[in-house]
């Protein structure tokens, strides 16, 4: 009739627990033949004991909780009535019982379904129905937390590596940009390590082609889109005419719509509706002439004073066409417009994705806005572009304040 000891606890592995077995602890168990007085003695003797499983032969039939039991026994006459009766009077007759091979995830769902008691009293662990030990709610929470941490670590590692790939994809453009345009700025800040913003710079004999791209979405889906767009654009720049950005854009629209089945031929409802907002720029170096087409992306041209009488600096905003590239609602045959401009010496050109302009912040929690950006471009126009960029990003960070970053951010400028 003496309480028997369960098998020794399994060796705890250093790695994350996988099943109920890994949470198993041995504890005092009692047989249902024990009296309530015996249980009272056990609780008195073993101050650290919170629960006592009741096991009949090898079968767990209940769990006695110290607090519940002690409260009951402290009531008037309870000891007199129940002291010499079977200890099953005050046990929980339906404790959570799980097989050793139950995965932690499933165990946590069952513990939640069992309610509060599985977390406070713990649960009984069995092998083919036979009692082998107990598990505590604390250990279960700990295991679930470790499991989640492990899973998110694996996801993060995978995204970190995706970021290495995405950055490599940007590198040739950054290298060419630095070689062709010493006075430039390119800030690329994905919201979630990888993102849907992208930048392309290609050098040709008579000039260069620039694309600032904001694909739908951010994070991993956004990054998928940038790779699709970058490879399509790459192909178009090899075979098409970079000097006619509007035609490159129109061709790109057709290609995106057909490869993503957004051409209206596959109306099954479940497909994607993805595309990009973008500006494609051709700059002829000898003539200092710029031709660009833009889809929902404004250009900002900063001109220094033309004469002493004129204001010291002028910032002109030229909005893009209000049609994105590749989306379901964009017609297959949509034609974007080429804008033309001869860039005066000392003028600079800035293109940003909506990540800066739309970011809420400040005391009112409203968007950063184009006006604020233009004011900053005016204020810092005499600085090298990289210095302007860092001033603007500093102000942007201050403005954002406690607000979370809402979108990927790309800020590009050049002064040829």
């Amino acid at each position: 009739m003496s309480p028997d000891q369960a098998s020794p606890a399994p060796k705890r592995s250093a790695t994350t627990p996988n099943t109920a077995f890994d949470l198993k602890k041995s504890t005092l168990v009692a047989s249902p033949e024990l009296f309530s007085d015996d249980i009272l003695h056990l609780f008195h003797e073993h101050a650290a004991l919170d629960v006592i499983p009741i096991v009949e032969d090898t079968l767990p039939i209940g769990l006695v909780n110290r607090h519940v039991f002690m409260n009951e026994m402290a009531r008037p006459y309870m000891r007199e009535i129940y002291g010499r009766k079977s200890c099953i009077a005050f046990m929980d007759k339906q404790p959570l019982i799980v097989e050793e091979n139950t995965p932690i995830q499933e165990l946590s769902f069952r513990a939640l379904a069992a309610g509060q008691k599985a977390l406070s009293d713990g649960f009984i662990i069995v092998k083919n129905g036979a009692y082998t030990g107990v598990g505590s709610g604390f250990d279960l929470v700990d295991a679930v937390t470790k499991l989640q941490a492990e899973k998110s670590r694996m996801v993060m590692e995978s995204i970190e590596y995706a970021s290495v790939i995405q950055k490599s994809f940007l590198r040739p453009s950054q290298r060419d940009l630095a070689a062709c345009l010493p006075d430039h700025v390119l800030l690329w800040e994905p919201r979630d390590v990888v993102g849907g913003d992208f930048f392309v710079f290609r050098h040709f004999d008579d000039g260069f082609f620039i694309a600032v791209i904001d694909c739908t979405g951010h994070g991993v889906p956004g990054a998928f889109m940038t790779l699709i767009m970058a490879s399509l654009l790459d192909r178009l720049l090899q075979h098409g005419n970079p000097r006619d950005p509007a035609s490159v854009m129109a061709e790109m629209n057709r290609m995106v719509k057909s490869i993503l089945a957004q051409d209206g031929k596959h109306e099954d409802g479940g497909g994607s509706d993805d595309g990009m907002d973008t500006a494609f720029v051709w700059f002829n170096t000898a003539q200092r002439s710029m031709t660009w087409a833009a889809a929902k992306t404004p250009l900002f041209i900063v001109e220094p004073a033309s004469s002493d009488a004129a204001p010291p600096v002028k910032v002109e905003q030229i909005n893009g066409d209000r049609m994105g590239v590749g989306y379901r609602t964009t017609p297959m045959s949509h034609a974007w417009i080429n804008h033309n401009l001869n860039l005066a010496p000392g003028s600079s050109v800035f293109i940003t994705t909506d990540g800066i302009i739309d970011q809420p912040g400040g005391a009112k929690r409203i968007a950063f806005g184009k006006k604020r950006l233009k004011n900053m471009l005016t204020e810092h126009h005499s600085l090298p572009l990289m210095a302007q960029g860092s001033r603007i990003m500093q102000a942007f960070g201050t403005y954002q304040g406690e607000q979370t970053r809402r979108d990927d951010v790309t800020f590009f400028g050049f002064r040829p």
């Binding site: 904001d214 739908t216 979405g217 509706d273 907002d277 209000r322 989306y327 609602t329 909506d354 302009i357 739309d358 809420p360 009112k364 929690r365 409203i366 968007a367 950063f368 806005g369 184009k370 006006k371 809402r406 979108d407």
Partner: protein, 127 residues
């Protein structure tokens, strides 16, 4: 028809569609991970309401401070539905924005241009 109310969250706006009072309110920010999933039931309810509306004056009050590009697409669909419904109804769009929020105001003006059948009423407020 059953009114539709959804509380605002960090990433989705408050939706207060009182179909019985012909007043539809969207307020807050909108950047749910899956805008199509969030707005699906909302546009569905709106479609049903507009189908049975005739010679009705409908007050639409929009006070959004941020919406991401996928929410923008959904908003355009909603305004497209309202624009169509404006053939048989009067749709008053109260486009509310902070007096300093030129981004939201600009978006409203684009909407006005695209959906001329809707009475566009910009309303700025101080905060």
């Amino acid at each position: 028809m059953q009114d539709l109310y959804i509380d605002a969250t960090n990433t989705s706006p408050e939706v207060d569609f009182r179909f019985n009072e012909h007043q539809l309110v969207l307020r807050g920010e909108s950047y749910p991970e899956n805008a199509a999933a969030f707005f699906g039931p909302i546009t569905e309810a709106l479609r049903e309401y507009l189908e049975q509306s005739q010679d009705q004056t409908i007050e639409v009050i929009i006070e959004l401070t941020y919406f991401n590009s996928s929410s923008t697409k959904v908003l355009f669909n909603i305004f497209d539905m309202l624009n169509t419904a404006a053939a048989n109804n009067t749709i008053n769009l109260h486009w509310r924005h902070d007096e300093d929020d030129d981004t939201i105001l600009e978006f409203g003006e684009d909407l006005h241009e695209d959906f001329p059948a809707i009475n566009y009423i910009p309303e700025s407020f101080e905060s």
